[in-house]
């Protein structure tokens, strides 16, 4: 299992998490290349279908990152995203997919270090869980 390199799709909100990931870049904070970012204007835009689609296509993990509570550029999109993720995890359990494959995080525009840490941790966690059983079924 040691050579397993997970593929992680990350939905990042434009105002906080994406800017935080950019800051990690300008600060040259090294983190694993396993994470593949997708920019959305708000984490509230992340339809659970996107997450399921990513898993169906074989992604080993999906990260959704938005603004901290109270800091959402659109007032409350981050709460909606968080609630959807909680519900989605219930559903994943019923589908026999480890809910830990989906993770929601608050990352602000100034938290480059946190973004790098979140990615590192999540990659380690997914390595522990192992490859997505749906991988290669397409």
């Amino acid at each position: 299992m040691s050579d397993f390199e997970p593929n992680i799709v990350a939905f990042l909100c434009n105002w906080c998490a994406y800017a935080g990931a950019d800051l990690a870049g300008t600060s040259r904070l090294i983190y694993p290349a396993n994470v593949k970012p997708i920019r959305v204007m708000c984490s509230g835009r992340v339809d659970p279908v996107f997450v399921l689609e990513a898993l169906k296509k074989g992604a080993d993990g999906v990260l959704i990152a938005g603004c901290h509570p109270g800091d959402c550029h659109y007032q409350s999109g981050n709460y909606k995203a968080n609630r959807r993720v909680i519900l989605l995890k219930e559903l994943l359990q019923q589908l026999n997919i480890n809910p830990r494959r989906v993770r929601f995080e608050y990352v602000s525009a100034s938290e480059g270090q946190k973004f790098a840490n979140v990615v590192k941790e999540f990659v380690e966690e997914i390595k522990e869980i192992g490859p997505n059983p749906l991988r290669g079924e397409q």
Binding site: W15, R45, F50, A109, S110
Partner: protein
């Protein structure tokens, strides 16, 4: 789109050093729908832009992918380039292969593979993109300035001079802010109020400035060009129009001399009715409802003395909070700073020992309008100090408290050392315990040299403890210049506390939707190139609410913020971002899920001819978050530029590759 051009930027070596650009170009050239794939050293340069433009024409491109730095940097640049070549600016997608790839993944193979994948995702999205039209919105040519310190004053004056109406909101009874509390300013030793009060008067007299003192912003809606603002005007219990500011009420108040005076850093006492300082603008009395006997108990002697003495009959105990609403096009936030409460550093004894004070407290003691009339005395026994010791970096540059430098502490201490020498003569001993003297500003170093010449003892080290002994205070400090431990006996200890965000900056940040950094100060959109902008379009920051600053930097930033704001106000119309939600009525069942999800009341239900309901997006109100799109059970609600199929196309690419 099936005639897509991919343009990969080397960014000098920023991208090319870790990403094999040629490999990415080759890979992109073979993707479905891509007809041309090129690289250039600096795609954002004129040559790079021309390369894109020429390719668009030569290959009749209908979509463009630029693989470069973050879209936050250059998306607007490339949108313009694409537009200049005759394409719709929204058939462009940026693949961020610098901030989120080459700069964070040092392994060349990994970084190249990821870059290829990001480009492939971007191409997949561009294939499904559609041309979008920017709607025009009218601009309200008015500004809101929050905070009436020197930064807010400067921004208000600049904007009003340019001919725009300014609402200046200050939460205290008077404008002036921290600068009004200072006696002299470094390095010129200008009298603070002498240079501040003319500006305060200008604010009062300028026909374009509407001042809301003793008021607070409670809500802000809308977006750039049109913000709807609600301000609460707190009751002064004094009729604003009738009060002449004569101060008769202040003199007769039964609480006179009993209430800690916040303007004097609680060193002096005021009454329940007060005027914070002689030059206050507006010069009106204010009754403190927490302290006023009549407002607290319904009784003040036989009748309230203030009411008896006021010839203008201005005292009005029935006043209520007043809610005022107005619209503005831009907002400048200039809410300033707090000083760290030094009690956080127990070892320095602040609040335990009366003769341990802060620089701002000493400033009030030095000021001739201060609680002692300019007599510098030890608070414990009112005697003149024979020795004064400054402790710099109290909480600043300290990983356990505030990591940052306060940027004014060294110069403040040097200035105060000079003033002490001036007021107390040669007899007073002055010690300064410092970490580094940071005299970085214009003429600061010269000022520092001048102070070194007036018999001041410098100890390079942070004191470990301030102790109170029978005959005064002692400070233990290890001087790292001489490698010796000193015990300084002194009468008055002056702490130079860290500069921290205002305690209500979190609440205000939420009202304005302005982000704050990890330090709690408001976050600028770019630390170098957009130091006055925030991530929220049309909202600017100036002065210490953005980070510690001296007066000259605050004023410069305030003028800069005003100028940035005026750029917007001087336009009659703005082009709105078109990335908003829309409804495909054929799929909409009228379930109204989207209506309940929208935070901006931007969706309404509309009755169709066949009596069925469908959702409709009010474009002027939609901010383009896409929450309603994610909530829509039928896929009828979509977001322009972020439609389900457009995002799913990227998901399929990024999710499908191992």
């Amino acid at each position: 789109m099936d005639r897509i051009g991919v343009f990969v930027c080397h960014c000098g070596v920023n991208i090319a050093a870790t990403v094999d650009v040629d490999e990415v170009v080759d890979f992109a050239g073979k993707l479905d729908g891509v007809v041309v794939s090129k690289s250039y050293k600096y795609m954002c340069s004129d040559n790079g832009a021309n390369l894109i433009k020429e390719s668009i024409k030569k290959f009749k491109l209908d979509g463009v992918v630029v693989a470069s730095c973050s879209p936050q940097m250059h998306e607007h640049t490339f949108r313009r380039v694409v537009e200049e070549a005759g394409l719709n600016p929204f058939v462009l997608e940026i693949a961020n292969i610098r901030e989120q790839c080459s700069w964070v993944h040092p392994d060349r193979k990994e970084a190249t593979e990821k870059a290829k994948l990001l480009v492939k995702g971007a191409v997949a999205k561009v294939r499904l993109l559609e041309p979008l039209v920017r709607e025009k919105v009218k601009v309200t040519p008015k500004a809101l300035v929050v905070g009436g310190g020197i930064a807010g004053i400067q921004a208000s004056l600049d904007l009003s001079e340019k001919g725009f109406h300014v609402y200046l909101v200050e939460k205290e009874p008077s404008i002036g802010g921290r600068m009004a509390q200072l006696d002299k300013t470094f390095p010129t030793l200008d009298c603070a109020s002498c240079i501040l009060t003319p500006k305060m008067m200008d604010v009062k007299n300028h026909p374009n400035i509407e001042l809301f003192a003793y008021s607070e912003v409670v809500s802000v809606d809308g977006s750039i060009g049109n913000y709807r603002v609600k301000v609460v005007r707190k009751p002064r219990y004094v009729d604003f129009d009738k009060c002449t500011g004569c101060g008769d009420c202040v003199n007769v108040c039964r609480m006179k001399g009993k209430v800690p005076d916040e303007f004097n850093m609680n060193l002096g006492k005021r009454g329940a009715v007060y005027i914070p300082f002689p030059q206050a603008i507006p010069l009106k009395a204010t009754i403190d409802p927490e302290q006023c006997l009549f407002l607290r108990y319904g009784k003040c002697g036989r009748s309230p003395a203030c009411q008896d003495v006021c010839e203008a009959e201005a005292i009005d105990f029935t006043q209520k909070e007043e809610l005022v609403e107005f619209e503005v096009g831009v907002i400048v936030v200039a809410t300033g700073y707090d000083l760290l409460d030094p009690s956080a550093l127990y070892e320095y004894g602040y609040s335990r020992y009366k003769d341990v004070i802060t620089t701002l407290e000493l400033e009030r003691l030095i000021s001739s309008s201060g609680p002692t009339g300019g007599e510098i005395v030890c608070p414990s026994d009112q005697r003149k100090p024979g020795s004064v010791t400054f402790v710099l970096c109290v909480g600043s540059r300290d990983e356990t408290v505030c990591t940052w430098c306060c940027r004014v502490g060294c110069m403040t201490a040097l200035k105060q050392a000079y003033l002490l020498r001036e007021h107390l003569g040669d007899d007073v001993e002055i010690n300064i315990c410092y970490t580094d003297i940071r005299s970085f500003g214009k003429r600061y170093e010269e000022f520092y040299r001048r102070i070194r010449g007036v018999k001041t003892n410098f100890f390079r080290g942070r004191p470990s403890e301030v102790k109170e002994k029978k005959d005064g205070l002692t400070i233990d400090v290890f001087d790292t210049m001489t490698n010796k431990l000193f015990e300084i006996k002194t009468d008055l200890v002056v702490l130079v506390p860290a500069v921290v965000p205002r305690n209500d900056s979190s609440d205000l940040g939420k009202i304005l939707h302005v982000s704050r950094g990890a330090d709690g100060f408001f976050l600028e959109a770019h630390p170098k190139l957009k130091p006055m902008d925030t991530f929220t379009d049309g909202i600017f920051i100036a002065g210490c609410c953005q980070g510690p600053k001296d007066i000259q930097d605050s004023v410069a930033q305030a003028s800069g913020a005003a100028s940035r704001a005026a750029n917007i106000l001087s336009k009659e119309e703005l082009e709105a971002e078109p990335l908003i939600a829309f409804v495909d009525e054929d799929f909409c069942s009228g379930c109204a899920t989207c209506v309940s999800v929208c935070s901006f009341n931007a969706i309404e239900l509309m009755k169709k001819e066949d009596n069925k309901y469908v959702a409709r997006v009010v474009e002027a109100l939609c901010k383009g978050c896409g929450s309603c799109v994610a909530a829509c059970p039928s896929g009828a609600m979509q977001q322009k530029g972020f439609k389900d199929d457009q995002i799913l196309a990227v998901v399929d690419v990024l999710g499908g590759e191992a």
